[in-house]
Point group: C2
Chain length 341, copies 2
């Protein structure tokens, strides 16, 4: 893998996959191929030179090709970026496996856990594409703002430092600052849990609990995320960084966060199925909530916020009751809730 | 000091002082005296049973008395709450010293450092009122929402645990959850620095840098706050709690944060003096910025965000240049910026 030139495949033509593909193609010497599952979607993007469905008003560079042929997309690619929802990652990687070079680096963008197995995305990558280095690109990154050239910072995590440094070079542009990290599992837990916290923050805002309550919820939420992350082997400082704190703050306070918006609408009395049916964007927190609760049980960690969110998305509790329960927690010494790792 | 009954004096009839006085007076058996510096302001509040200037639309309980006589206010009070801007704390405590019981507990609400001496507020309290236990009440607490009965959480920090527990009882109500902490200096540094970070966040928002940039700024800002706080003797976990993360998130993301609003207006081209003259509220970050930079120099800590803010409030740099400099910082390994303590 070299930082300049070389082919990169991006699997998944949603908002973030398209943005990252367009970002990489800002280097005019680089060949970038964006794979869309649907042939008609691939054709539409290719002809319009714009992904009108997921990233409107963003012209795509000419060195960005679009295809529905996954074998062709990954053939010869030194880096394969996975940008589909967490629940589809295994299936897409299986489709890509035969054509993916044994030396290719896999970079996951999905923020969530595999339903049922509770695998992190890197575990899925390692099972389906054994032997390839696996990395995670994460952080507080709303796609449309990055596509529009606004400044942002992100983390690329990989256990192999030379690979992390190459990927840092690959993804860095003047408006997109990339920091390295070796804590893959920590970054993955952060990315999975923060969407659940965003649902909770949206619910609190939908119930007009106020900015103070939301700030307290973010604080307790990051402590909860950190407890689980440390128990699963992550570093405490990862959760204080862009992948943890940064993404939690963004997802819980931006009105353009998908998960926040779903929580907000649930709190206003809409039914989950109707909320989800009204958008073609995926709110990963809905699927992640039960996975986080199951992981917390496996690791013996207390996750009261995620438990309330899981009860709401399962239809077992009203959002108002969940928020009330969270805001009435026992008081005590502040340190009691923090991870020690 | 007993949790029920007993007289409490609140010195300072601004928005937060009035809110805390009204909160304490929710216990109908408690005698609460609110001191206003200006006799006409005290009379106006007392006659209207409302602080129209700083906390409009909030009727005050009948067991809350208002006076401009500071000696009468503190006489016989078991708890003296200090709720004036940081720069006035010493002067007000000197006025209160003769009448304050030698056994009274001093609870500081001011978030900032003494200009010139760089003393924390607890250091000022200990100098002027030696021998009394000193505590800090802090956290993500916008006054109007608490006055309106919306839920919030806060921290009461005191080195003497029995005092902290008594104060926890005193300040706790069903909608206001109080956690204890023994890290007074950590809470004070957090309260002082967060206002400077809020100015930076307001500037970034005023320049329309976007939600991603603001989330990154909050992340780097909390790391900066934590570095200084740890160097000054605070605990790292304090900065992950309500006094640190919680208050930083609130101040940097709420459009009703005073310091955020000042930063926002500076970024839109207004002159600092005009911004400050247009409001009777104090934005503590303006005074804290040079103090934080001086403390950072004393403790050998790097505080790039606070340095940029200090340059802007001193008129040495345009907000746009400051924000641009912050968003173009060197990339590296994420852990490099985090405190080790």
């Amino acid at each position: 893998v070299g930082p300049d030139g070389g082919k990169v495949a991006v699997l998944g033509a949603g908002s973030w996959g398209t943005t990252v593909a367009a970002l990489l193609a800002l280097d005019a010497h680089r060949e970038v191929v964006l794979w869309a599952r649907s042939p008609s979607h691939a054709t539409a993007i290719s002809e319009a030179r714009c992904n009108d469905r997921y990233l409107p008003n963003t012209p795509l560079p000419h060195n960005l090709a679009v295809t529905a042929d996954i074998g062709g997309a990954v053939a010869g690619a030194g880096v394969v970026v996975v940008a589909v929802p967490a629940r589809w990652v295994r299936e897409v990687l299986v489709l890509a496996a035969r054509g993916t070079a044994p030396t290719a680096v896999i970079v996951n963008l999905a923020k969530g856990f595999e339903p049922g197995t509770l695998c992190t995305m890197s575990e899925v990558c390692e099972e389906v594409l054994p032997g390839r280095p696996v990395a995670v690109l994460t952080g507080p990154n709303l796609a449309p703002d990055i596509a529009a050239g606004l400044p942002a910072a992100a983390v690329v995590a990989c256990r192999e430092e030379p690979v992390a440094l190459v990927l840092q070079q690959l993804f860095s542009f003047s408006h997109f600052r990339v920091y390295t990290n070796d804590d893959v599992v920590g970054c993955e837990v952060a990315g999975g849990v923060k969407n659940v916290l965003a649902l909770a923050a949206g619910m609190a805002d939908g119930l007009e609990a106020g900015d103070n309550a939301r700030a307290a919820l973010v604080t307790r939420g990051l402590a909860e995320l950190s407890r689980l992350g440390v128990a699963m082997g992550g570093h405490a400082w990862t959760f204080a960084g862009l992948a943890g704190l940064g993404d939690v703050v963004l997802s819980c306070t931006s009105r353009r966060s998908r998960n926040w918006a779903v929580g907000f609408r649930l709190a206003q009395g809409e039914v989950l199925a109707a909320v989800l049916a009204s958008t073609h964007q995926v709110a990963e927190g809905v699927g992640s909530a039960p996975s986080v609760v199951a992981l917390a049980a496996r690791y013996g960690v207390v996750t009261p916020i995620c438990e309330q969110v899981a009860a709401v998305v399962a239809g077992r509790r009203a959002a108002a009751d969940a928020v009330a329960a969270l805001l009435e927690r026992e008081r005590g010494h502040e340190r009691a809730g923090l991870p020690t790792g």
